[in-house]
Structures are given as C-alpha cells and as structure tokens.
C-alpha cells in the first residue's frame, strides 16, 4: 500500500509538470504552411523577397487590439499574416481582445507590453501615453511614417496631442456619412413633404405614428427610434443639432460653450418630451441596445433612423434580398430650429487609434520594422487594400464604382476567399483591418460581383449626406478628464429622462448642478486647450 501511495503522490506532482512542458510558447500564428489562394502570389513573394533583404533579422511583433470579430486568427487560412510575415520578415502576432482596456493595463503593468496597441478608446491610449508607457512623441517619426502624417488631418493631430506631443496616430477620418434617414415611401403614401423645421418634423412624426403608414391595419409604427442601451438617449441626441452643435463648441464670441449652457439642450428635451408623451418614439428607446433594435428597424416599424447609407444594404440582407426595401429610405437634412441650427454633427475624428509601446521604441531595429509595417498599410498605400480588403492576398477584387467609390463582393466564396460573410468563412481575419480601417477609402461592400441596386442606392444616400453642412470638430479636439465626463453624463442621463417623463422640470437647477459637478471645469479646460491651438480667444 505504501508503494501505491508513493506512486500516486509522484503522479500528482509529475502530471502537471509534464503538461507544463507540453505547452508551447509559440502562438499558432507561427504556422507558415498556408497556401495563398490569390492569383498574384508571385508578386507578393517577389515583393517579400525585396523587403526581406532590407530586414535581415526576423522579429516577432505583437499587435494587441480591440476586435470586430474576435475569433482567433493564425491558422492555415491566415493569408494576411503570411503576407505580413513575408513582406516584413516578421512573425506577426495579432492579439485581439474584446475587453481591451482591462487587458492592456494588465500587460503593461506586468512588464509584458505588446509592441503595438490599437483601440476604439482614445482616452485609454492617452492614459498609457501619460504613464510614459508608449511612444512619447510621434512627431519624431514623421519621416518614417510619412503616409500616416499625410492622411491625418490637422484636427486629428490636435486632438491626438498632449502638451504639444503627438501621443498617438490614427487612420484618416472618414467623411461624415451618418444622418437621419426617413421613410421616403411613407412620406409618399401619406402625401407628406420632407420636414425642414422641428415643428414640421413633429407633424410628420404624428402621421407616421398614428396614420398606419405601412397599411397593415395595425397601430405598430413609431416615428423615432434610438438605441440608448441604458446609458442615455442614444443617437436621437443628434436632434440637438436642429438647434445648434451637440458638444462643446466655440461660439460667435470666440468663447467655449455647450448646449446645456446655451439652452439648446432644453429645446431638444422639450422636443423629445412631446415625442415621448405622444408615443411618437419607440418606448424602449432608453433601454434597447443597438443590435436588439435591429429586428424592428429592418422590419420597417420606424419612420426615421440615424444611420449611414449602409442601412439599405443591411435591411435588404435581413429581409431576404427582395429589392423591396431599396427605396424605403431617404436622407433627411437636419431640420432647422434656430438661426445657427440645422447642420449635421461634426464627423468623428477617430474610428481607432494606435501607438507603439515605449519598450519597442527603445529597440531601434524593432521600431523601424514596426514603423515600416504601419506606413505600408496606411490608406491609400497598396498594403492598406491588401490587409483591409484582402486584395491580391485573399482573392478579393476591388472594382470601380464611379465618383471615387470602389466596391467588392464581400460575401466571398468558399475555395477562393478565406474570409468573407459566407458560412464557414474565417471572419476573424477581418480583424487585421481593425487598426487601419477608414471610411475615406469609399469602398462599398456588395453581395455580388456586379454593382447592385442596393449598393448604388447606398452610395447615393452617403453622397447626399456628405454634401450636407456640418458643425466644426472643435468639440472633439480636446482631451477632457474622462472621470468628470462620465460623472457629467450620469447627471445628464438622470435628469433628461426625468424631464421628458415630467418628473423633474427644473432645467435651471439641472444646469447649475451640471456646472458645479464639473461642467464649468470642462468648459474651462476646453477653452484653454482650444485657445492653445488658436480656435478660441
């Protein structure tokens, strides 16, 4: 029995030890047996050979980023990694994590920082920069990443700067293609005109909600929808722009102000209060999430929606590509509720941002390799289209769609494309485009090899939106204390819902509370920062 005891004890100790040895440090991404299905394999390999001569030593480079898809990459299908590895003589590891902020903090705090990081969250990257964990000033590398500096706008550079140092880099900001879409067919059915003022919009909304615009005999339509996701009013907030800018902005007196201060937020709340009390807006708008709202949206239950032109594509796909929904939507110019109102909100400055860790910066050879990768894959360089759209390396073909637009059949085909939107495609490969993607490339994703009516309509709607007047981007060019911003948002959410439901009508008290809770500090900080770049006086 003692022998049995000894044997079991030894096994208990040995088994974990043996398994510890079985694991592999290397990522599965080191699998280099991939067969490139692209017709231009030869070109890629030739380019790779030239590049490899420049980069003699093979380096392992890790990019940690948020994700679109999140399923692991690096298997036999990963022609994107193969292209990066061969072109830059690296072993590229893409670590996509859904909870980026938490993960990246752990990695940096543990001294195990990834070489490159990319996220939706600019504030997170700024925090890393402030802690001196990332490149201190990207301006020093202007010559090494000229494409990045050419593509970033002045507004982006201002917004990405801390104390005169460029803390991060980002893809080119896309033209503003978000606007309110309105049901064109409902306007026609009910004999209505496109609304141009808040009052006209309310009248149209009443008809949309009460006059059975879809003629199904049921009172089941709403004029407005929003996806508040329990965090606020959601995108319906953009209706503030009927009266003026929706964020901190520089007024005509060159001082910084905010819609809560100038009274435009109160006008907006009064508008929403009417819509809410008359049941013109989906009653779930405060709680429903973006994805959860889609069935009713695609099913044609809402009269307006804040969306880019891709809404046409989404609705068609979700309803079986019948062609019946292509003419549902039209772009609604922002109704004008005041002299300075009636413009679209400023287009976003950043879709994603990225930077390089301070530890990678210290290693010159490593840094040079990383900067080469970044510059080569920045729009509009060839590498961008390879990595973002799989052109050449994954069998995708970008075709001219006129007016500067391009289109491709994003559905993909088994046996031709490794990634795509067909069953069994490795959708995780989309994540290679996460850090570089920009809407400025004007690529339309089609479901067929020819330009479909859906894609043409999407292009039309986006084209109209891009020509509409928009407010300035100064509200996005400041870096404010995120903790205070969060606190202020909570105060605004709480009051707004009470106000529209009639439980609290004291707007003056709310404004006072907002100022005291940090609003005044945010105004002062915005003023200081905007004054420093010459936008405020």
């Amino acid at each position: 029995m003692k022998k049995v005891f000894a044997l079991i004890t030894v096994l208990c100790v040995l088994i974990p030890t043996v398994f510890a040895g079985c694991g592999s440090e290397s990522n599965s991404t080191t699998n280099n047996t991939t067969v490139v299905s692209s017709s231009s394999t030869t070109d890629v390999v030739a380019t790779a050979a030239t590049q490899t001569n420049k980069f003699e030593k093979k380096l392992k480079i890790e990019m940690m980023q948020g994700t679109w898809v999140g399923t692991p990459v690096g298997g036999a299908d990963d022609v994107y990694k193969k292209w990066l590895d061969e072109t830059f003589n690296i072993d590229f590891v893409l670590t996509g994590v859904p909870n980026f902020n938490e993960q990246v903090m752990v990695r940096f705090a543990s001294g195990d920082a990834p070489d490159m990081v990319s996220s939706y969250d600019k504030n997170m990257i700024i925090k890393l920069h402030e802690a001196k964990l990332t490149i201190d000033d990207w301006n020093l590398y202007k010559d090494k990443v000229p494409s990045v500096f050419n593509s970033m706008s002045d507004a982006q550079r201002s917004a990405a700067s801390v104390a005169g140092k460029l803390a991060l880099i980002a893809p080119a900001s896309a033209p503003q293609n978000w606007s309110f879409k309105i049901r064109k067919d409902w306007l026609t059915t009910l004999g209505l005109q496109m609304p141009t003022t808040p009052d006209e919009l309310l009248e149209v909304a009443r008809k949309f909600a009460k006059n059975d615009p879809d003629k199904n005999g049921k009172n089941d339509t709403y004029a407005f929808t929003s996806a508040g996701g329990k965090n606020g009013f959601g995108e319906i907030d953009n209706l503030i722009c009927m009266y003026g800018p929706r964020d901190y902005y520089v007024g005509t007196d060159k001082k910084v102000t905010h819609p809560i201060i100038d009274g435009n937020y109160e006008k907006f709340l009064n508008f929403i209060k009417i819509a809410y009390s008359e049941k013109l807006i989906d009653p779930d708008f405060f709680t429903v999430g973006w994805e959860d709202r889609k069935p009713m949206l695609y099913n044609g239950k809402f009269g307006t929606a804040w969306y880019p032109g891709v809404l046409i594509n989404e609705t068609e796909n979700a309803t079986g590509i019948t062609g019946k929904t292509i003419d549902w939507w039209d772009t609604m110019p922002m109704p004008k509720g005041s002299e300075e109102g009636g413009k679209l909100p400023a287009g976003g400055l950043f879709a994603t941002v990225q930077t390089v860790s301070a530890s990678a910066e210290k290693d010159q050879e490593r840094l040079d390799r990383i900067l080469a990768v970044i510059d080569a894959t920045t729009y509009p360089n060839e590498g961008y289209f390879k990595l973002r759209w799989g052109q050449d390396i994954d069998g995708f073909v970008l075709k001219d769609a006129g007016d500067g637009y391009k289109f491709l059949n994003a559905t993909g085909n088994a046996g031709v494309n490794k990634r795509g939107q067909y069953d069994g495609a490795n959708k995780g490969l989309y994540d290679y485009g996460f850090s570089i993607a920009t809407g400025a490339d004007l690529v339309i994703e089609s479901t067929q090899d020819t330009l479909t009516a859906t894609a043409i309509r999407q292009k039309e709607l986006d084209g109209i939106t891009m020509k509409l007047p928009a407010y300035g981007q100064e509200g996005m060019m400041t870096t404010l204390d995120s903790t205070v911003v969060d606190q202020l948002n909570k105060i605004v959410f709480e009051f707004s819902f009470k106000y529209i439901s009639g439980k609290d009508t004291n707007y003056a008290a709310f404004k006072d509370k907002w100022l005291k809770a940090g609003g005044q500090k945010m105004l002062d900080d915005s003023y200081t920062q905007l004054k420093a770049i010459g936008l405020a006086q």
Binding site: F19, G70, P98
Partner: protein
C-alpha cells in the same frame, strides 16, 4: 375543513409560484434553443420574438459541425481541462483537506490560516499575472488548473467533512494496523462519496465555464476553450463607436443563429453531467456543515 381548503390553496399558490419562477429561469435557455433553429429573416419579421420557428433550420449546426475546426478544437480543450483539471484539483484539495483534519498535526493552524488567506485576500489580476508569467505557464495548457490546484474553500469543506467522521472508526482501523494512506483510500474516501461527487461537479462546472484565465493567459488559438470562443462571439459588436460600426463587418452581418447554436452546443455537455451527480448535491454540501 376550512383548514384543508386553506392548505390546498396555499399549496397551489406555492406550486404556481414555483412553476412561474421555473419558467422565468428556463425561458432564456428556451429562447437560445429556439433561435438556434430560426432563420434570421423570420427573426426580423417577428421583431425578435420567436416562440417556435415556423420554418426551422439546422444550417447553423451543420455549419459548426462541418465547417468549423475551431469549434471542435475548443470543445476538445474544454473537455480536456474538465477531465484533467477537475481530477487534479479535487485530488489535491481532498488530500489537503484530509491532512488538515488530522488531530495533533504540527503546524495545522498555520496551514489553515494560509488556506483561509487565499479565500479572503485574492492575489489580484496583475500580481497573479506576474506569478503565472514567472512560473512559465503563459500560453500553456496547465495554466488552466495549476494555479487552482488546491482550492481554499474546498479544503475547508473537506476538512469539516472528515472531522465529522466518528473517531472510533479510525481508531479501530488503526488498531487493525491500517496506514494513513490506506485509511484515506479504503475508509475515508468511500465514506465521503457525497462530498467528493459534489466537489467534482462544482469543479467540473467551474472548469467548463471558465474563460477569463484563457483570455488573460492564452494567446495560442489552439489552446482556447469553448467558453472563450462563445464569449468572443457575443462581444464582437459591443462597445464600438458609430464610426466603427460602419467599418465593422459583423455589425452588418448578423450571425445570431450561429451564435445561439454554438451556445447550445456549449451547454449540452455540462447539462448531461448534472443528472448523474445531482443526487449527491444536497447531502454533499450540508454534510459536515453542522458539527456535533
């Protein structure tokens, strides 16, 4: 008579409440199951509320089973960590519980305090990460069970259970010349099947459901468990900004049915284990909790 009517009414209200509560608990599971068989078009047409699919489809399951090597690899890893992890964790925890239940063991109090400290004061994410890294466990399969080989709470449960076994049984065994190890194997363990089965179930469910350790410590896709794959599937379109949503391919192409089918396939194995071990549950948890 009146008392009987009141009692009957009371019983019926209780039963109704239980049925309603059970329905509330089961509905999310039922919804996931139904959606895994529902075509997206029907989901849209019914505004996202589907009780029974009018035209059920098995496409999602066929896709996962025939075209997704990632799923099977992750499933295999999950099964492996349940089998190896649960076995080793229960074995080590049981032995520690047995040792600390022995009377007169020198340093017993210190050992118990050390165990208790791990329950009251978890190491924290970053220190734990550093320990894992220094142990060379990063990106290796044993990271799933080595850090939790001795479970503090489990040790206390086992210790308490073993302490309640009548001393006379052990004394008579000792008089017959039984060694400590034989005592554990031949006497204590056979008398403790309830608590062991319960702890096996707790550990197995914990191992099956774990994804956070893989998220933090594993970068090799071939070592990722199924729950991490499911977690990623459901996280994919959350948290993006408006600018990103237009660029995000997933926000434009719903794969809801596929997600639900993956979830169903992820739930089934652990549901199958439950009925076999459930009978030990109550006995196992409560035995040993009352001393006297």
């Amino acid at each position: 008579m009146k008392a009987n009517v009141a009692e009957l009414l009371y019983q019926r209200i209780i039963k109704l409440s239980i049925i309603l509560f059970s329905g509330m608990c089961l509905y999310p599971l039922f919804y996931i199951l139904v959606l895994s068989f529902t075509k997206e078009r029907e989901w849209v047409e019914k505004n996202g509320i589907v009780l029974l699919p009018a035209d059920p489809t098995f496409n999602a399951y066929i896709t996962i089973i025939t075209k997704s090597p990632l799923f099977f690899n992750a499933f295999f890893i999950s099964v492996l960590r349940v089998v190896i992890g649960s076995t080793l964790i229960v074995a080590f925890t049981l032995v520690m519980g047995y040792v600390t239940s022995r009377k007169g063991l020198p340093g017993k109090k210190i050992m118990l305090i050390m165990v208790l400290v791990t329950i009251l004061f978890p190491g924290g994410l970053i220190p734990t990460y550093l320990v894992i890294k220094e142990l060379g466990l990063m990106n290796k399969f044993p990271v799933y069970f080595i850090p939790s080989l001795v479970d503090g709470f489990g040790v206390l449960v086992f210790k308490q259970f073993f302490s309640n076994i009548p001393a006379e049984i052990e004394e008579s065994a000792q008089m017959d010349g039984v060694s400590e190890f034989s005592m554990l194997i031949k006497i204590i363990i056979p008398m403790s099947t309830a608590v062991i089965a319960t702890w096996v179930l707790f550990t197995a469910v914990g191992q099956w459901n774990s994804w956070f350790d893989a998220l933090v410590y594993i970068r090799n896709s071939k070592l990722m468990p199924l729950q991490l794959i499911i977690y990623n599937l459901f996280q994919e379109s959350l948290g993006f900004s408006f600018n990103q949503s237009i660029l995000n391919p997933v926000s434009r192409v719903s794969s809801l049915t596929l997600k639900m089918a993956t979830t169903v396939l992820g739930i089934i194995p652990i549901l199958c284990i439950y009925p076999f071990l459930q009978k030990y549950f109550v006995t196992g948890v409560y035995t040993g909790s009352v001393k006297g």
